[in-house]
């Protein structure tokens, strides 16, 4: 165990409430003043497979899970078979009474009557995990009251009551058996209100904050939680939240709603996005502002629905026939996901283009702790929009040719404005044309936006971020950032100074910003991506004629662990 940090791995059968247990524990820690990060891995099935999550708790902000853990809560033998090698030398394993396993030497085994306690209190077998979390709470020297309140907030009344009892029993059992406080958490900080949420949660919150009122999505792992969350709170926020018959229906409804004037969004994964490709071009041609969330998972095709990857970057950048401006944003953590979702809506409406928010399973479904969002940091920019009454004098031109390429957008229903959207190439009024001069002018108009988009992003957002100032440059985009930041702290301790470049706007690609960064001389440059073919590197080649030779690529569906990055850096540096 490290100072101020505890890592707990909880595993069991699918359907055994493993993630719920992780969340209970993490929230208890957060409310006790710590930070937590939960990564969870589960197969694409409802019961029978093995599910596990790792809860990392720390007195400082944490950015990713760790490979090695201090405690394993094993609700099935599968958990130990798969994960015992992740336990630190003197780690603790919590198992049910009567559980037999050939443990390696040194492991501290806590055999607790999980099932018995559960039966006693009249809980269902799945509730064993509450007993276990009660025990862990005791081990870590945390307050059982905090856990009780967490349980009350998570579950519905009846269930909460039972679970609270069970947790308390576990807690008491630990005390009785001298396990309390044997792995105490220390050094908490309570400076600001903290929340724990996933990338999906952050996107949903950002969308609500941005005034999104229409959301239609067909369920697809790992994006479905956005649908579930929004569906749940739709009434409180006057949203229309819909699960249509398919992704094709979803995106077309979203485009319809956006044309009508609602901020509208859909969310899916690569397979569903594949079905949205034709309509993406429709949004572009009709200059209808839509936001599309694409949460990546390993492909091709069905691939591995519940795992993580960054293999869709080029696809999203080039999807749909013909050429048109689009914006693709890749947040690296939940906090960024929130703010960038707000930006996504502003950019979409201001420039009347489709905007893609590109996440991945690891970002979308891992939980991290962040400060509550400061509301001042976002504002609504709808661009030039005309409602109620058009007073422009002449006939309204939906696609007026302007200097910036942006044509003031009237919403249907506006008096004196006839708003004609058209997927065929069209004139300024939106009437179909094939006239060579008009066509060229319209293509040029659409592309003129690109320069203004770049400026806007530079002014109001962050196309590229850097962290640290070392001689070894690490280059990434999206969720690997978390593990890299962790690795950087460790490398620092080992005397290796690193610097991270995180590309956030993948399109328009921040060429100038990156050129500046790459102009400096580095000892080594290492590319880190969760894919096979180094897609960001292909963009660096294309835009900067830069080919990063040292690559750390991972494409087995798993996110990076900090240790992998440390190893790579060490091997390159020495």
């Amino acid at each position: 165990m490290r100072e101020n940090e505890v890592n707990v791995l909880i595993g069991g059968e699918a359907g055994a409430g493993i993630l719920a247990a992780g969340i209970m524990l993490a929230k208890t820690c957060i409310r006790s003043g710590f930070y937590a990060f939960i990564m969870n891995e589960y197969p694409s099935l409802i019961r029978g497979g093995h599910v596990w999550c790792s809860v990392r708790v720390c007195s400082r902000k944490v950015y990713s899970q760790r490979f090695f853990v201090d405690i394993i809560v094993a609700l099935s033998s599968e958990t130990l078979k798969k994960h015992i090698d992740k336990l630190y030398g003197k780690g603790i394993v919590i198992v049910d009474e009567g559980f037999s396993y050939d443990f390696p030497v040194g492991v501290r085994i806590i055999e607790a009557p999980l099932t018995n306690i559960t039966k006693e209190i009249g809980g269902r077998p799945v509730m064993r995990n509450s007993v276990a979390i009660g025990i862990v709470t005791a081990l870590l020297g945390l307050d059982i009251q905090v856990l009780s309140r967490v349980i009350k907030d998570i579950f519905k009344e009846k269930v909460a009551e039972l679970n609270t009892k069970l947790a308390r029993k576990g807690y008491e059992w630990a005390f009785k058996h001298g396990k309390a406080g044997i792995l105490p958490l220390q050094g908490f900080s309570q400076e600001s209100a903290k929340i724990m949420l996933t990338g999906n949660d952050a996107v949903a919150l950002g969308a609500i904050r941005a005034g999104m009122k229409f959301f239609a999505a067909y369920p697809m792992t790992p994006a479905s939680p956005i649908l579930h969350f929004l569906a749940e709170i739709q009434k409180e926020y006057d949203l229309v939240v819909l699960q249509p018959e398919s992704e094709i229906a979803a995106i077309n409804m979203v485009i319809g709603a956006a044309y009508a004037g609602a901020r509208a969004m859909t969310a899916t994964s690569g397979g569903g996005f594949s079905l949205m490709v034709e309509a993406l071009g429709q949004a572009a041609m009709t200059e209808t502002p839509v936001v599309i969330v694409v949460a990546q998972r390993p492909g091709p095709s069905t691939g591995m629905p519940t795992y993580t990857a960054q293999g869709d970057l080029r696809f999203v950048l080039h999807a749909s026939q013909g050429e048109f401006p689009r914006v693709v944003i890749a947040p690296g953590d939940a906090g960024e996901a929130f703010y960038l979702t707000v930006h996504a809506f502003n950019i979409a409406e201001k420039f009347q283009i489709p905007v893609v928010i590109l996440t991945d399973k690891h970002l979308a479904e891992s939980y991290m702790t962040i400060e509550e969002f400061k509301d001042l940091r976002v504002m609504i920019d709808r661009g030039e929009i005309i409602t109620d009454n058009y007073r422009g004098g002449k006939s309204y031109k939906r696609y007026e040719i302007t200097e910036t390429g942006i044509s003031p957008r009237a919403l249907p229903g506006t008096i004196n404005a006839i708003v004609k959207a058209n997927t065929s190439e069209h004139d300024e009024f939106g009437i179909g044309t094939t006239d060579s001069t008009k066509v060229k002018a319209m293509v040029d108009k659409r592309f003129r936006k690109v320069e203004y988009i770049k400026r806007y992003i530079r002014e109001y957002s962050t196309p590229v971020k850097t962290y640290g100032d070392g001689e070894v440059l690490l280059v990434t985009w999206g969720s690997p950032k978390g593990a890299i930041l962790e690795a950087m702290l460790e490398l620092e301790k080992r005397g290796i100074g690193t610097k991270l470049v995180q590309v956030i706007f993948m399109e328009p690609f921040p060429v100038e910003e990156l050129r500046e960064i790459f102009e400096i001389d580095y000892r080594e440059i290492i590319l880190i991506e969760n894919n096979k073919t180094a897609l960001l590197n292909s963009l660096l080649n294309q835009y900067l004629h830069l080919d990063i030779k040292q690559k750390l690529l991972k494409y087995d569906g798993r996110p990076f662990y900090p240790y992998e990055i440390i190893e790579k850096v060490m091997s390159v540096v020495k």
Partner: protein, 273 residues
């Protein structure tokens, strides 16, 4: 107020689309709907050009997506009157996956299908409603498939307003359109629309169609029977019409305004603490 644009029409002379255009224009005139309150959504095909010709808000969408696009518009702003113009290729071939769902959702839009039984714009290939044996560029030896019965399908899917019109009966068609627009709920009018170039059915249908009379449009069994009538006699008129809750009735006001400083989400923090 001119409901037609100045765009020159490029349908073949005599095409059934002209009748649909004029029936629709008369209908909205008579219903006295303000042009800014209507949105028409048109599909891809000869029929799709109609949006260039009518001087109201319009969205000329991609092939087969009139229904979801119109659904999105209606839900985002239920104050708009939303009418879709689609083709038999557009709605019954590539877009068929949307029709049953719109019907059972009972979204308050009107869908006018220009059913000429061919893909007109792509030079006359057969469609799901072409008769078996139909010879076209893609079926030069005759199509091998039984045609689809779109009205039966709409009824089987729970549509609350199901009608058939004929481009050779403009004023009857106008009445149907008016009724369909007035109907609160999903309304489909399948319009027999002769394509003079690839499948000129004027004579054929003139001889066969008859206007429904003494028909109880609230009786589903009756409607199904009438929908299955496709031999010597082909009924036109309203086959079915009932009032049911619509999807858009759940939307209280247009979703088009946002407070400048964004929406307050503080209440939501609780669940993440």
């Amino acid at each position: 107020m001119n409901l037609q644009t100045f765009v020159e029409k490029t349908w073949c002379p005599g095409c059934g689309n002209y009748a649909i255009l004029s029936a629709f224009i008369s209908a909205i005139k008579e219903l006295e709907i303000k042009p800014e309150k209507i949105v028409i959504v048109s599909g891809i095909g000869c029929h799709g050009r109609i949006s260039d010709y009518i001087n109201v808000n319009s969205f000329h969408t991609i092939h087969g997506r009139v229904i979801p696009l119109a659904t999105g518009i209606k839900l985002a702003n239920p104050e708009l009157v939303v009418v879709g113009f689609s083709g038999d290729g557009d709605t019954y071939s590539i877009g068929l996956g949307h029709l049953p769902h719109a019907a059972r959702r009972n979204i308050d839009i009107t869908l006018i299908v220009h059913n000429n039984q061919v893909f007109g714009l792509t030079t006359g290939q057969y469609t799901p409603t072409s008769p078996k044996g139909f010879k076209s560029r893609s079926t030069p030896h005759g199509s091998l498939e039984e045609p689809l019965n779109p009205l039966l399908l709409a009824l089987a899917s729970g549509a609350t307003f199901v009608a058939r019109g004929f481009a050779g009966e403009v004023s009857h068609l106008k009445t149907l359109i008016k009724e369909a627009i007035k109907h609160k709920g999903f309304a489909i009018i399948d319009v027999l629309q002769p394509c003079v170039t690839y499948y000129n059915t004027y004579q054929y249908y003139r001889q066969k169609v008859y206007k429904l009379e003494n028909h109880d449009p609230t009786d589903l069994n009756q409607a199904i029977k009438k929908a299955m009538e496709w031999n010597d006699k082909i009924p036109i008129g309203i086959l079915y019409k009932i009032r049911k809750e619509t999807l858009d009735e759940h939307v209280k006001k247009p979703l088009i305004r946002i407070p400048e400083t964004g929406v307050d989400i503080k209440n939501l923090y609780r669940r993440f603490r």
